[in-house]
Subunit: 412 residues, 2 copies
């Protein structure tokens, strides 16, 4: 007998019909003898409806009151699912975040979970009840309602699975798993049976929007096996779990190709190459609350100056350009250039760590298609390149093929 | 400086515009230096929308889960009003029933308040905040969400006023006070400036649907001055307070005329007049969960039998008739008659206690208009008669005029 924590997202509970379908699914697991904890999001559209009410009053309403307001969305769905389970003859009990004491800090609208009191849930599970918990919400130590930010229901699911030492945390969504890359770009993209937490983190942050990053980090930290599945189709989905080093030999070198069109590239040219110059450039950018992704600085030219390039989110490009122009004046730099027409393509895989020549295989594949690489950045399990946006699809297809990702893995 | 607890009903907070208007009203009181606690209902229509969702799943959903579901309605409005107050520069903080520990029994969907922890509200009031509390809800001693039943927000208002020892509990609604009778029946019906708790109870239970009876009982028990006012018009409304015996001399004999068309009359004729017969008739009626209102039994006829008549809610008449026919067979009674075409008209007033001849004045007024009285029942501050429904309006107008209710009272 296993204990599963299942999380269903907004589209999965978007209507009474769909809530009934979720009840059927949960009842099926319960009938097989499993202990079940179910975490729910608000009905799709409901959170936006509530935010819309608030925005009629004020553009930036009080965050504490926003949390009181939007946390009602999940409270509605947990009650409805519990009713649907009871109708099917399964005992069920719903709980808000506060009622199962999901204690968070007091950073309203983006709170972080600090602890969970499992005593009441354990008692319910022991007496055969299905426990239904509102995702996305908690309370601070003064009893104020907090929310974990958009997508926080995934985090609730993982946190409950960790606290209850569940067999698996299953995230039901409208895709049937994690793919080697976006199937809209590569026809032969394949669903992965397994992926490691680290790979998933790189895939997620690079634009495969299946799971909230925070939930994956949390799952990795507490070693909670995490499975992504479709609410609407059958299938085993993708299991995200620890890297099993024993299987290293059988592991593919690259697990997936991630990409991202949301960035812009900024270059400051002819900067005097003196110690502390990187800080003098990026300090003001950070102070302006702009997040920087890829950073490249090459060795200095013969004239003692260097070029400094980095990428930011495209929405921040204008703001970053303004900051950079002031910095350029102060430093006596030659010029500042900004470029929106770029894309980032990354190969991700824990197998890279034990395989040489992965980078050269990547560059070779891109070179064969005459795709110019503008920037390169690497980590233990990831190599990213910045290229002209026009070549994005071509690059993804070339790499998917070069690393033979359409072929099933050797391991299960 | 006073402490006011103000309760606004569903139509008063039925849209963002109206919530903004309530915020203006509350801000006005706060600006005058008063401490303010505001109790809100759900936006009009919202509770029914939520009940509609549940009824799509099951006709009689689990009561605990119903409470989790419908309590979200008030949680939405308290957040929105707090935002609107903050926008106006007034510090405000919203609380669910659970957050201010409105402890109830565990009778879901019709719970009763047992205690309230005022510590947190006191702290907020002392620091100048407006405290905004969700009406209609509480928690039981295990932390389960409970609701007080329809109209329970009035009760929340009164309970908070009692717990906080407020100057006054002000119930804002869509009527501007309590009238001598229904203005749709008598043009010259007049708003009362004051009425006693006892009178209000008699008026409310007899069909003047301004306030929830439970709230009035509660206010009377804890001596909380209760004022009914209109959200939409200016004016002082009607103050419901203790009977001030000193003013007896100046008090009018009758304060108002209440009436009710919702009853049906049942008579069992030719019952042997033996001890215990009333119980043998009404016992089975009560056992069938039918509430009985007026009961009349006259002295027995020469043949040793008597007639026994009582009224029930019109919806229960058919059921009651069935019960009564079985009883009649057992008792060997002559026949059972039921009559739907009746109405109850009552005069209400604490002044009655010290004035003779009130009853005869009532009967005289009805007699002058040839209205036949079918049943009579009296209490200390009320006389009710059952008449043919056709004469209801005529009777109300005759009594309103006979007791000079169109004239302003002598006292304020």
């Amino acid at each position: 007998m296993s204990l599963f924590v299942q999380k269903y997202g907004g589209t999965s509970v978007g209507s009474i019909e769909r809530i009934e379908a979720v009840a059927d699914k949960v009842a099926g697991f319960k009938a097989q003898g499993h202990d079940m904890v179910v975490v729910l999001s608000a009905m799709s559209g409901e959170t936006n409806r509530l935010i819309g009410l608030a925005s009629q009053i004020q553009e930036n309403p009080d965050p504490r009151e926003m949390d009181v307001l939007v946390s009602t969305g999940e409270q509605v769905t947990i009650a409805l699912l519990s009713m649907a389970l009871k109708k099917r003859g399964y005992d069920a009990c719903s709980y808000t975040g506060g009622q199962v004491k999901i204690l968070t800090d007091n950073a309203h609208t983006k709170a972080r979970i600090q602890s969970i009191d499992v005593e009441r849930m354990r008692r319910d599970l022991d007496s055969g009840k299905v426990v239904v918990v509102a995702g996305f919400q908690g309370v601070d130590d003064e009893g104020n309602i907090t929310t974990l930010g958009r997508g926080g229901s995934d985090t609730t699911g993982v946190a409950l699975a960790a606290a209850l030492d569940a067999t698996e945390c299953q995230i039901y969504t409208d895709v049937d798993g994690v793919y080697t890359t976006d199937p809209r770009v590569v026809d032969s993209a394949r669903r992965l049976d397994r992926i490691t937490f680290e790979e998933m983190l790189e895939m997620a942050s690079l634009g495969s929007k299946v799971l909230q990053i925070r939930a994956v980090e949390f799952a990795g930290k507490y070693k909670v096996p995490l499975r992504v599945l479709s609410t609407f189709d059958e299938g085993n989905g993708t299991l995200i779990s620890l890297d099993e080093e024993d299987n290293d030999m059988e592991q593919p070198v690259v697990s997936g190709i991630a990409f991202n069109r949301d960035e812009a590239k900024l270059t400051i040219r002819g900067v005097p190459d003196t110690p502390g110059v990187a800080c003098r450039i990026l300090g003001p950018v950070g102070a302006a609350n702009i997040e920087v992704d890829v950073i490249v600085q090459n060795i200095s030219a013969i004239d003692g100056t260097t070029d400094f390039t980095f990428t930011v989110h495209r929405n921040d490009a204008g703001k970053a350009l303004g900051v950079l122009q002031r910095v350029a004046d102060e430093l006596g730099a030659r010029e500042v250039i900004s470029d929106d027409n770029i894309a980032k393509v990354s190969i991700v895989g824990v197998g890279m760590r034990s395989h040489a020549n992965v980078a050269s295989r990547m560059f070779e594949a891109l070179g064969q298609d005459n795709i110019n690489i503008q920037m390169i950045t690497t980590s233990e399990i990831k190599i990213s390149v910045i290229i002209d946006e026009r070549y994005l699809e071509l690059a993804v297809r070339a790499l998917h093929s070069a690393f033979e990702l359409s072929e099933p893995k050797i391991t299960e």
